[in-house]
């Protein structure tokens, strides 16, 4: 870091979590404008892609796309293209159409479409518009936060930051020439913290299951849905995925949580690595799934 660099970190309550943005820039005014631009990006993405907000673009599309093709924003197009790509490669292990199930479990507001009828194959994304072949509820909760982090990093870069970090709960991305050590926090009531990786220009997303489950109809429910069975999974695994973008890392945590070692092929396709931590008799068993065979490459 040059002596003249100005650095700061700020925190805001955005995306339903505490988001921390840190940056380094040649001048104080560039630093402040970069931080504010990054915050504005996060708020903008949240406004358009949140499933919690009835006024969002996503909610409008969910309400109307089954009857008429809907024009969509570039943001929704990018996130949805990536989501459908991962759905195809994972043969539906990742499926952004689980919204109705997520809502039925109480993790999203009530929805009109019934759970279990449609799948990602019923999402028709053309050059002009988006159409649903059947009534369905798109839920980008497993990928949009990662995309928002990517957009915030771009905003830092475009506005003159020379290094930066955006951390939104489980989704983190860094840029710059220095390596940033990243820790992983496991889920569950006895969460532990482990050093995970030193990262230069990359993203880490962690899904720690076990922390957000709730009781419903005398059964435990968790927000991780197995799209093949359309049922919630009571996983106790904590999954971290390391990839070049946070959007891909975010989405792949769900694939690894459901497939374990079976996710190695899809990790390779995205040049991503994963670490799975599972509780075993009061300790944590760690398994690394690497897309590259050369250690440290």
């Amino acid at each position: 870091m040059p002596e003249s660099a100005h650095c700061a970190r700020r925190s805001w309550l955005l995306l339903g979590t505490l988001v921390e943005i840190a940056a380094e820039a040649p001048s104080q005014s560039m630093l402040e404008s970069a931080l504010l631009a990054a915050r504005a990006e996060l708020a903008r993405i949240h406004q358009s892609l949140s499933g919690h907000d009835a006024g969002s673009e996503l909610s409008r599309v969910n309400a109307l796309a089954a009857s008429d093709p809907q024009p969509i924003s570039d943001d929704l197009r990018r996130v949805l293209s990536c989501a459908l790509d991962i759905a195809t490669r994972s043969r539906g292990v990742f499926d952004p159409t689980v919204g109705a199930q997520v809502a039925a479990l109480g993790f999203l507001p009530p929805q009109a479409a019934a759970p279990g009828v449609a799948s990602w194959r019923d999402v028709e994304l053309s050059r002009e518009a988006l159409r649903y072949a059947k009534p369905l509820v798109l839920d980008l909760g497993g990928i949009a936060k990662g995309y928002a982090v990517d957009c915030a990093i771009d905003a830092l870069r475009v506005n003159g930051a020379t290094a930066g970090r955006v951390n939104a709960g489980g989704d983190l991305r860094v840029f710059g020439t220095r390596g940033e050590p990243v820790h992983v926090r496991t889920g569950g009531p006895q969460g532990a913290l482990f050093p995970l990786v030193t990262l230069v220009d990359g993203a880490v997303a962690t899904s720690a299951y076990g922390g957000q489950r709730r009781r419903r109809d005398r059964r435990w429910a968790a927000p991780l849905i197995d799209p093949r069975l359309r049922l919630p999974v009571l996983s106790t695994r904590t999954v971290s995925v390391i990839a070049s973008t946070c959007m891909v890392a975010d989405a792949l945590t769900k694939v690894v949580a459901l497939l374990g070692r079976g996710a190695q092929g899809i990790l390779r396709a995205y040049r991503a690595d994963a670490v799975v931590l599972s509780p075993a008799r009061g300790r944590w068993r760690c398994t690394r799934l690497e897309s590259t065979m050369v250690a440290g490459a």
Binding site: A43, G106, G169, G191, A192, V200, G202, R283
Partner: protein, 177 residues
């Protein structure tokens, strides 16, 4: 992207049983004041009489710490108020700064410091923006005008209660000062 592993390839890790605390200071008081009121030329600290705080604690719960209040001026003209307060998140204190315009409406809310053992404790979507424009006569309660979406935790509840107390304090002690 380049990465170097810090975690072993395959092993059983002994977990530290305690929660490792997460602590961060984002803004100094001065920086938060400047950010909320870029045009300000002076911040004059005002003191609140103990009777006022006692009256508020009867209606809206006790202050966790002694809140600090500044009258903000641009030249001779009063342009608002800056309030610094702390509430308990889950177990630790959250420091936040509340900026009011000269009519007592909320201008901004910033987190100055966060010392929580759970970094993801605040889970109420977009709730910070919901405070903007609130006035002392608004209820500012969870489940009424501040939406309490599922998954809301103590952190949100306590910051909301804190903002409610500070707005009452404005109404009782500062509005006619």
């Amino acid at each position: 992207m380049r990465r170097e592993w810090l975690i072993p390839a395959a092993a059983t890790l002994v977990a530290p049983v305690c929660n490792v605390a997460y602590a961060a200071v984002y803004f100094t008081t001065e920086a938060a004041q400047r950010a909320a009121f870029p045009d300000a030329t002076a911040f004059e600290e005002v003191l609140i009489a103990p009777e006022v705080k006692l009256a508020i604690s009867r209606d809206a719960g006790r202050f966790t710490v002694e809140p600090r209040i500044w009258r903000v001026r641009a030249g001779e003209r009063p342009i608002g108020w800056f309030m610094l307060d702390e509430v308990i998140g889950k177990v630790e204190l959250i420091t936040y700064g509340l900026a009011l315009d000269s009519n007592g409406a909320v201008k901004s809310l910033e987190v100055l410091a966060y010392r929580e053992s759970h970094g993801d404790a605040i889970r109420l979507p977009a709730w910070r923006a919901q405070f903007i424009g609130k006035r002392p006569d608004d209820p500012v309660r969870l489940d009424s005008d501040i939406r309490n979406i599922s998954g809301a935790t103590l952190s949100c509840r306590h910051v909301t209660e804190g903002v409610h107390r500070l707005l009452l304090l404005y109404a009782k002690a500062l509005a006619h000062a």
